[in-house]
């Protein structure tokens, strides 16, 4: 998940006029490649109660497999869409695409399924 964050950071910097377009393009490509791997980060038994200090995943993930799968799908399609807009290079379009990914995938999943590493 840190890798996804670093990719988003690079794209944000480009959108803000503070980063290179090449860095943003590389990050967007990495994001698109990494997104489909995210489900593999959450095998059963990897919640924050089972792995205190390491995992922030709420046990609710495994109670709502359909919902979680939809969010994974939103992440994969959102990342692919973002990569296309970064390649095209229009900053306003990239911003819109990043906002969609952030709200429909990142934020929507963290809202219900990310807790704290200390298990609270």
């Amino acid at each position: 998940m840190d890798r996804l964050g670093d990719d988003i950071k690079a794209i944000k910097l480009y959108v803000a006029g503070q980063g290179a377009r090449e860095a943003a393009a590389a990050a967007a490509k990495d994001l698109e490649t990494t997104a489909p791997l995210v489900p593999g980060l959450f095998p059963p038994g990897s919640d924050s109660k089972a792995l205190p200090g390491k995992s922030a995943a709420k046990p609710e993930i495994w109670d709502n497999p359909d919902d979680f799968q939809q969010l994974e799908q939103a992440l994969t399609t959102g990342a692919a869409d973002l990569r296309k807009t970064v390649d095209a290079g229009d900053v306003a379009t990239i911003r819109d695409s990043m906002r969609s990914l952030a709200k429909n995938a990142c934020g929507a999943c963290h809202e219900n399924y990310r807790g704290r590493k200390d298990g609270d």
Binding site: L4, M98, D118
Partner: protein
């Protein structure tokens, strides 16, 4: 004089920014919008939020404009009952009448829900409702927010949104044992009173928002992305759904006001810099 009321009088936007549905819809159990019943687990006990849909029997469908203003400004029900300050009327009291009534008009435009309220389950002594009268004397400063003529229009608009509407300080400020806001540590973060949340320091302290620019904060309130590329979660994701409904100018005003606050070291010891 009222600080800076919303020119658009847009009830739906104010309703979203004030986060009404976050507490009054039992989303964890897929409850109907504004039917209430969401459990707020606190150190004082568990509050069950009331139905604020426009149903005449179970909701607020019979409330007059005056009833609604009195509830938001003074924390008193139409029947004269005191509300617990889990309902953030100490913040809403600073809203303009126009904005309060814009929210009421919006609420009255959504479907009514026929769901009865559930009694709070509070610990002693908090379950004694008469105690709220004392609490109000100690902590409730009733009335709209005065504009500060020494500050910019943008700062004043931010102050109004942060304090009266979005009520950021209700979670991000520590409370004393009576549940009163510790005003000297406003925005310094807290083990928030609700659901075991840890609300971080949002002052410009170096360990808090010190390294965030106004643009960083304004865009975070739109898309939930931090400067490091992380994304808001939990209750803050719900808050961002509300602030993303505001205009870009309003989000910027919030950022300007927050960046102008006095830096205070974080209340929570585990906090580390988030702005890197």
């Amino acid at each position: 004089m009222i600080a800076t009321a919303t020119p658009a009088r847009d009830g739906a936007v104010l309703f979203a920014a004030a986060g009404c549905a976050n507490c009054h819809t039992d989303r964890p159990h897929h409850g109907a919008p504004l039917a209430g019943g969401r459990a707020l687990v606190t150190v004082f006990g568990t509050f069950f939020t009331p139905n604020i849909s426009p149903d005449p029997d179970f909701g607020i469908g019979r409330w007059s404009d005056g009833d609604f203003i009195r509830a938001l400004r003074r924390g008193i029900s139409p029947a004269g009952r005191d509300y617990y300050p889990s309902f953030p009327y100490p913040a809403f009291t600073e809203m303009s009448d126009d904005d309060i009534l814009a929210i009421k008009r919006y609420i009255f435009s959504v479907p009514a829900q026929r769901q009865p309220d559930r009694e709070h389950e509070l610990r002693f002594p908090y379950r004694i409702r008469a105690g709220i009268k004392v609490w109000k004397i100690l902590y409730l400063r009733e009335g709209t927010l005065d504009a500060d003529p020494d500050e910019s229009k943008e700062w004043n608009r931010g102050a109004y949104l942060v304090r009266a509407v979005v009520h950021c300080g209700e979670c991000h400020t520590p409370r004393d044992w009576l549940g009163g806001i510790e005003t000297a540590r406003r925005f310094a973060g807290a083990n928030a009173a609700v659901d075991g949340m840890k609300a971080p320091d949002i002052t410009p302290d170096p360990r808090a928002l010190g390294r965030w620019s106004v643009d960083d904060l304004a865009s975070y309130l739109d898309d939930g992305l931090t400067p490091s590329g992380d994304s808001a979660g939990g209750a803050m994701a719900e808050v961002i759904r509300g602030t993303s409904a505001l205009s870009a100018g309003d989000r910027r005003a919030i950022a300007v006001y927050m960046k102008a606050q006095t830096p205070i070291p974080p209340t929570l010891s585990h906090e580390v810099a988030k702005g890197d």
